[in-house]
């Protein structure tokens, strides 16, 4: 049961990330959906991949994005 909820949260997170106008919120939502995918990997019997994905998808990629946003602009003006 939990896996369906995680899937839906992951997909919703990715959709919400793309409609945000505040890019920092989009970054956090990307992290959430990356974390959901990591959790799914655990359910799909791949714990080693889940570890890597949890680090990369939920921590490293959002941090990269946050640095890029910090150096550029935070609000998506032209949407």
């Amino acid at each position: 049961m939990i896996e369906y909820i995680v899937m839906i949260v992951g997909i919703l997170g990715s959709i919400l990330a793309l409609v945000q106008r505040d890019l920092l919120k989009a970054t956090i939502l990307t992290g959430i959906s990356g974390g959901c995918i990591a959790f799914l990997f655990q359910i799909l019997l791949a714990p080693d991949v889940a570890l890597t994905q949890a680090i990369v998808g939920a921590a490293i990629v959002p941090v990269f994005l946050a640095i890029a946003i910090y150096k550029t602009q935070r609000v998506d003006k032209d949407d």
Binding site: S14, T30, L44, L45, P47, Q53, G57, V61, K71, T72
Partner: protein, 121 residues
């Protein structure tokens, strides 16, 4: 209730579709990069789903298991090894794209793809 494997396949498909949508319709370049990273994640998830086996076990051979029982139960470990590499490649490509996006922002003062990556640019 559909089974886990099918649901996981469908959700990996929807990640890819969301990414393709972002590739065409979203103008902000950082959001475009976020969207494209979803395609990568969808592809990884697809490979992991292929390796899944309903009611299976994690492919780690523990003492006390017989090889026959292990072979009939375990998930397929080859895609796991492939996805590990693929995740790292995806993250590094993303980092390069973000670095170039930062340079482009300093040059043009905008993050809009149609402004900085349009014709004659």
């Amino acid at each position: 209730m559909i089974d886990t494997q099918l649901a996981a396949l469908l959700s990996s498909g929807s990640f890819i579709i969301i990414g393709l949508y972002a590739a065409i319709f979203i103008d902000n370049i950082i959001k475009k990069i976020i969207g494209l990273s979803f395609i990568e994640e969808g592809a990884n998830m697809f490979l992991i789903t292929l390796a899944y086996r309903p009611d299976g076990i994690v492919p780690i051979f523990l003492p006390g298991m017989t090889p026959e029982w292990f072979a009939s139960k375990s998930a397929y470990p080859l895609p796991h090894a492939l996805v590990l590499t693929s995740i790292v490649i995806g993250a590094s490509t993303l980092a390069i794209m973000l670095a170039i996006a930062m340079v482009l922002y300093n040059k043009h003062g905008s993050l809009s793809a149609s402004v900085i990556l349009g014709d004659k640019k």
